[in-house]
């Protein structure tokens, strides 16, 4: 058993928050959690526009590897393959296109689903093909911020809410 310091049970601190305060803390954390889940995240209210993005595919990599667009944008991806046949498949949107070497293929869609989506090569292009991927971020990556917010609130709840 480890040695401990003596602590006053009456002091308000970690693990000893008094009941009314605990109740208040629980209510505040619950409201915060609802706000994190329901409120729009920053960057998700930009005006939609038409975006053309050139994506180069070469040696198991996309350039740029991260494509950021606003929610509601009409996006045209110009996929340019610089070595072998490559494709692009966008998770969440379930869209794909492939480009022959030296050629450009176009994929047009409306970014009407917010969040961060992986895109990866849809044509077997060599040993590292399963790992050839990038990211499409639509409207500021709401899922990450919401999940991070819930984790922070959960951490606070661990120490502020009555817990056995």
């Amino acid at each position: 058993m480890l040695r401990r310091r003596s602590d006053s049970r009456r002091r308000v601190g970690l693990g000893t928050v008094q009941s009314p305060l605990r109740l208040r803390a629980s209510a505040i954390l619950a409201v915060a959690a609802l706000a994190v889940l329901l409120l729009p995240v920053p960057g998700s209210r930009q005006l939609p526009s038409y975006r053309t993005v050139r994506v180069d595919a070469e040696a198991y990599a996309y350039t740029p590897a991260v494509v950021e667009v606003a929610y509601g944008d009409t996006v045209e991806i110009e996929l340019v393959s610089n070595d072998v046949v490559h494709g692009i498949y966008i998770e969440g949107y379930d869209l794909s296109v492939s480009a022959d070497p030296g050629q450009t293929a176009r994929l047009r869609f409306v970014a009407d689903r917010g969040g961060s989506f992986r895109f990866y090569c849809s044509v077997s292009c060599g040993p590292l093909h399963p790992f050839m991927s990038g990211r499409l971020k639509v409207g500021g990556g709401g899922l990450f911020w919401r999940a991070a917010g819930i984790v922070l609130i959960g951490a606070a709840a661990l120490f502020l809410v009555r817990w056995r």
Partner: protein, 457 residues
């Protein structure tokens, strides 16, 4: 804590005592692994068109990490084909204990009775993972080497020394089996204490002594129980229970916490973070470095991997525990470090589940054409050769990963608080325990945010 004994009904008891279901499952798995070796050696070198890569690293891995380990703990170990040939030779029998087997039956060296070798083996494989995962031949050679090693160890040493001390996969299955809602325990330990023959350990006409070298009455965690059911067969007093319990009960068991297992938690958590960055991230420089074995880039990747997993991760965790100890006034930060490391086990499993969900759903459809053409030779056995690659549930991958990671963090946080409360004096458990747990929870929070950034940012 309440438990439901699943082995009480006569039908279940008969099923557990019978060797046939286990043998049939093992034979099926052995057939699959043997065919994977053959496919890897003689089939197409294209990974996603070869049975070896798709069967082992997509199908088997997904079932293991997403289903078997979280639900059954070491359930896979009870039917694993890798040690089977060696065990059959060692016993001189495939079923009952009625013949004298081959082998020298030597005891495993006392100094190596820990999982440090398993930790080292896993790390060694982890450094070559990108090559192993993408090249059928390398996968086949690896399987063959492990199969031969397991057979050799079974012939030289007693019981399942390979599974207990060497298997690189067994180490992490054991670690995460602590979270499973199933456990094998004795019903009444006083019965075992008065049983002079201890047939569960020594064996009798009905079964073998525990292959995992565990005395069931001393079992307090799932880590070293392979769920082989030999003790169910050899106990003359029907004193072995297969309990349904609260998941993760083992984490709160203060007995038997060890540094080698604590390090396993860091290795697995660290490997999940690195793999997620390398295999799922958009950074081609990382992928190329991890793939170019022998190059300077790979050496830098390997050094970084080791430094992160063995140095930075446990180092920062130790600082967190040390700080917590100062806040709580505990005197033995090293013991607290080992004990609190177990709180990272749920977060580690969550990280692996989140990683594997993405990998399995994105690549799972490679399985269908392989049913028609497992070697990539142009066959079309069941008319599925033309089945196209089509990722599953892609709109749900991110939300699933986020929910799993949030759950893993919450479970780790609660476990940290409970373990911390054990570490301080019982009468001051509330406040001092929480003070000790606070930096540990913040460490888990940071890791969770990193994982969320890798998966869904």
């Amino acid at each position: 804590m309440r438990r439901l004994d699943l082995a009480r009904p006569v039908m279940v008891k008969r099923l557990l005592r019978s060797r046939w279901p286990q043998l049939l499952a093992t034979l099926a798995a052995l057939s699959g692994f043997t065919f994977a070796i053959a496919a890897g050696l003689f089939g197409t070198p294209v990974g996603n068109r070869n049975f070896a890569v798709v069967f082992i690293w997509i199908a088997w891995w997904a079932v293991l990490v997403l289903v078997l380990v979280p639900i059954l703990g070491r359930g896979w170990c009870s039917v694993c084909p890798i040690p089977a040939p060696g065990e059959w030779l060692q016993r001189g029998a495939i079923l009952g204990p009625d013949r004298r087997g081959l082998g020298f039956d030597r005891r495993w060296p006392r100094r190596l009775r820990n999982i440090w070798l398993q930790n080292a083996g896993f790390l060694l494989l982890a450094l070559f993972a990108v090559v192993v995962l993408t090249h059928p031949t390398v996968t086949a050679v690896l399987l063959l080497v492990i199969l031969l090693l397991a057979t050799g160890v079974s012939l030289l040493f007693e019981r399942r020394a390979f599974c207990r001390y060497l298997c690189p996969v067994g180490g992490f299955i054991g670690l995460y089996s602590q979270l499973a809602p199933v456990e094998l325990r004795v019903r009444d330990s006083s019965v075992c204490a008065s049983h002079r023959e201890k047939t569960c350990y020594t064996g009798n006409n009905d079964g073998y002594g525990c292959p995992w070298q565990v005395f069931p009455a001393g079992l307090v965690k799932n880590i070293n129980c392979g769920l082989c059911m030999e003790c169910v067969r050899t106990c003359p007093y029907d004193n072995i229970a297969l309990n349904l319990r609260a998941p993760g009960s083992d984490l709160l068991e203060a007995r038997g916490r060890r540094l080698d297992e604590a390090y396993k938690a860091f290795i697995m958590l660290g490997a999940a973070i690195v793999y997620s960055a390398v295999m799922l991230g958009p950074w081609s420089v990382l992928k190329t470095a991890a793939y170019s074995v022998g190059s300077q880039a790979w050496a830098a990747y390997a050094a970084g991997f080791m430094a992160f997993v063995l140095g930075a991760l446990p180092g920062f965790f130790f600082l967190a525990v040390h700080f917590g100890c100062r806040l709580a006034g505990c005197a033995r930060p090293r013991k607290a470090f080992t004990s609190l490391s177990y709180s990272l086990v749920p977060l580690g499993l969550a990280a692996w589940v989140a990683f594997s969900v993405s990998f399995a759903l994105a690549n799972g459809s490679y399985i269908w054409p392989l049913l028609s053409d497992p070697l990539g030779w142009g066959w079309d056995l069941v008319g599925l050769r033309g089945a196209s690659w089509s990722p599953y549930l892609t709109g749900l991958v991110g939300p699933i990963q986020a929910v799993v990671l949030i759950g893993g963090f919450a479970w780790s946080g609660v476990s940290a608080k409970r373990i911390a409360r054990q570490l301080v004096a019982a009468d001051a458990a509330g406040e001092s325990g929480d003070r000790l747990a606070l930096p540990v929870v913040l460490f888990g929070l940071l890791i969770t945010l990193i994982l969320l950034a890798l998966f869904v940012a």
